[in-house]
Symmetry: C4
Subunit: 264 residues, 4 copies
């Protein structure tokens, strides 16, 4: 979550002054500014196209808390929408705001993965065919080297039985999902979408964007014939290199997102 102070000021200027949360510490203020921009990027890049899907980031001030928007379209999120939530899924200062019912995805992943500081939940259409057919989502683009072990698939029937409403809206279902995720960067959810995690907001957002690109490429490649995937070395090596260059895409994603989503 490295963000230059001058950029923070710019974000706050463009997207509205942060609420009381932001006054707590500069680390928190920076996280919230980054968080708002990231929501706009996810909307602009098609990862979260409508009022569903959500982003969270762990609080830099307290590893047992995370930030998440009130239940609202990512493309409209502002600093005032940011809520602080604990790992039981309870808001610290709800102010009557409606919360996402699937916040337990985030809470349980933060419990299970101490090194994860951001989580994206998306319904992007390109990923869904892999979840409903079991076709392994493996890397054919070097930008998706992080997918080397093939994204695991969460089948909610295994944890919740055949009669769920498909949503991961309890701590138990969240824990089951986190278990299927394991140490992976991405987990597919059958008939629903996927989650991408990262050590930072930028890494989680970047992984969600390139997982989508890789899904589109692989969808077509599979129809052409035998596919050469990145091998384990290639994937691990390029994933590390890409992580060091995320800011280069972030710069243009941010400019486009702020131009294409409403100024509030």
């Amino acid at each position: 979550m490295s963000i230059r102070p001058t950029l923070v000021a710019a974000f706050l200027c463009v997207l509205g002054a942060p609420g009381p949360l932001a006054a707590q510490s500069s680390g928190v203020a920076e996280s919230i500014a980054e968080f708002v921009v990231a929501n706009r990027i996810l909307a602009d890049q098609g990862v979260i196209a409508d009022g569903f899907g959500h982003l969270s980031c762990r609080s830099p001030a307290d590893p047992n808390r995370f930030f998440m928007s009130r239940a609202k379209a990512a493309g409209l999120v502002t600093a005032d929408d940011v809520m602080e939530i604990d790992l039981a899924g309870q808001a610290l200062d709800q102010q009557g705001r409606r919360m996402f019912s699937e916040r337990f995805i985030h809470a349980e992943i933060y419990k299970a993965r101490p090194e994860v500081n951001a989580v994206v939940h998306s319904h992007a259409p390109a990923l869904l065919p892999f979840g409903v057919t079991g076709t392994p989502l493996r890397p054919v683009s070097h930008m998706a080297g992080f997918l080397v072990r093939a994204a695991p698939v969460f089948e909610i029937r295994e944890a919740g039985g055949p009669d769920t409403n498909m949503l991961v809206s309890t701590p138990e279902l969240g824990a089951a999902l986190a278990k299927v995720l394991g140490q992976a960067p991405v987990v597919l959810m059958r008939g629903h979408g996927f989650n991408a995690v990262g050590a930072s907001i930028r890494q989680a957002v970047s992984r969600s964007i390139y997982a989508e690109v890789n899904a589109r490429v692989l969808t077509e490649a599979l129809k052409m014939g035998s596919v050469v995937y990145l091998n384990e070395s290639e994937a691990a090596n390029i994933a590390k290199t890409n992580d060091a260059s995320i800011d280069r895409s972030w710069e243009i994603w941010k400019i486009r997102a702020l131009a294409n989503t409403p100024k509030l």
Copy 2:
């Protein structure tokens, strides 16, 4: 058709003052404002891309009447274009305006389905392959749980013989279509398009948008292998949950639509 009074004012402000119809009752004024915004959303979301396709909503003042635009592209509809039509397909105050020849789709569905208050008719390309091949359109995205029983297909040759012009432009063809629709939320029309119905404008519009997304996902999933569809419980449960959250997508759909379609 729940719409906040402050939003109604905003709609009227943006899209022009409503005509005489709007003066009849506040329920009607709200319906018309919502109706105009919904037309713009259908255009902006690609459900109605050109001058064809149309939306209607049942009058809150009289269940035997419904509102529909004059024959005009959805992306250009304003309050002045709204006409009140009875279930025989006759305009109450035509003012020389041209009507959609397929208004009988709407009239006959309102006759057959008392709980339906809104109907979308669309030519969205993603749905058409299902209608012409008989491939069942079933839910692979939880956002389309309402498709659980697979959308029925209206083959106009069965009702109208082999020599129609493909259009449902008579009460008889409308009634035949309504019969194929039965109690379903969506009916495909072979070689033509589809209709989505709802208890409200927002439900009918939302169903048309997510039916399109589901069609795109399923089109690719079918090429990958055996597909796991939502089962009946999952589909029914999530459909109910989604219905309670439509406003969250509506908010961003509306903002985008008003930004992307002409201010008149």
Copy 3:
């Protein structure tokens, strides 16, 4: 080429005053205004995405002449770019302007088809797979009823041998193309694109747009299984009905095109 006088004024206002040609007669002025708008629509709708592809319309003042832009991207055409060309492909007043080398497509079709008053030449990607595989392009969308007899395919090797540059840049090749077109509304060109013709600019443009949509739908339908096409009656009937409603789509295509292409 029916265009309301008030619209002509609006077009001229938006797109620049017409050149000397426009002074000749009001029919010509109207044709040129319509022609400029149609070029912008073809660009905005993706029928002509770059600097290639072109539109022509027969002169209402002389059936042995037609209007065509100088060699220029359709999305940038203004009234000053319009040239009058005879059926031998010679400009009447060239003014040093470069002409499209494939103007013979247009000239020879006007010779062979007296009832044709407009021709579109396009490289739209969705049509090309049909031309290079011989897969019949038949109607699966009622908006493309005009395709009922399947679009013929022009194989330039049959007329020009195996060593052409793929371009229909001579009267001889144009005549061969017109012969393959025959009485059809659309002809595919192998490895190149397609041409759509019409009794008016609006009919030719409309056919090119819906041929593209139909190609996309059919491309996916063919992968799903056995396809039900419109039969001859259905196709002929709906084609006639659609021709009477072109203005409804034209209105929104025009507004979008003028908003999305440069004001010059």
Copy 4:
């Protein structure tokens, strides 16, 4: 790199005054102006969608040097970002700016191909399936006649072994890539992207755009059945003709790109 003086002035006006490099000679100033516009076009046309991918052009003042942006998204490049680099990959005046690690692609191609004056490196998704499946990328659109011999595929494992990070970030890997490219206009990189080269910026950019279009067309055509490709004569002839008409597409690409990317 033919560019009209009046256009150069226009470019500089729109995109900011060039840095010290531009003062060296008018040929260099023109190259830099063209280079900046070309970066914006590559971003706007989807050849370089994010912060990766890059363009270079050989210096008109010294064939052993080339221009390239600092490591930055193509859609944001300005004249101030342009760096002069020698064929060993060293910057002449780095000023602390970060360089693209894959500049060796460019350096080694300039060494091996004296007639090449511009190189595009892209990750465009439509090309990737061909690289990972070995399906030959051959011309089905006459706009891609330059692909007649099928684009060769660079398998980095052959030059770098199974443990690379997929990037061509050394002179040795660059030389191996240049060897696979040979005399071709385009080389695919397995699991990564492609490079297009040209005698001018406009030719390299044009080839990258039409290679992408051809890949999309061929992807669909291959699913339909047996494909008729352009033969050698056709491809060579039309490639030559197209090269003489690049400016016609450039004009609209430039206008769109400057409208759609940030004014800095």
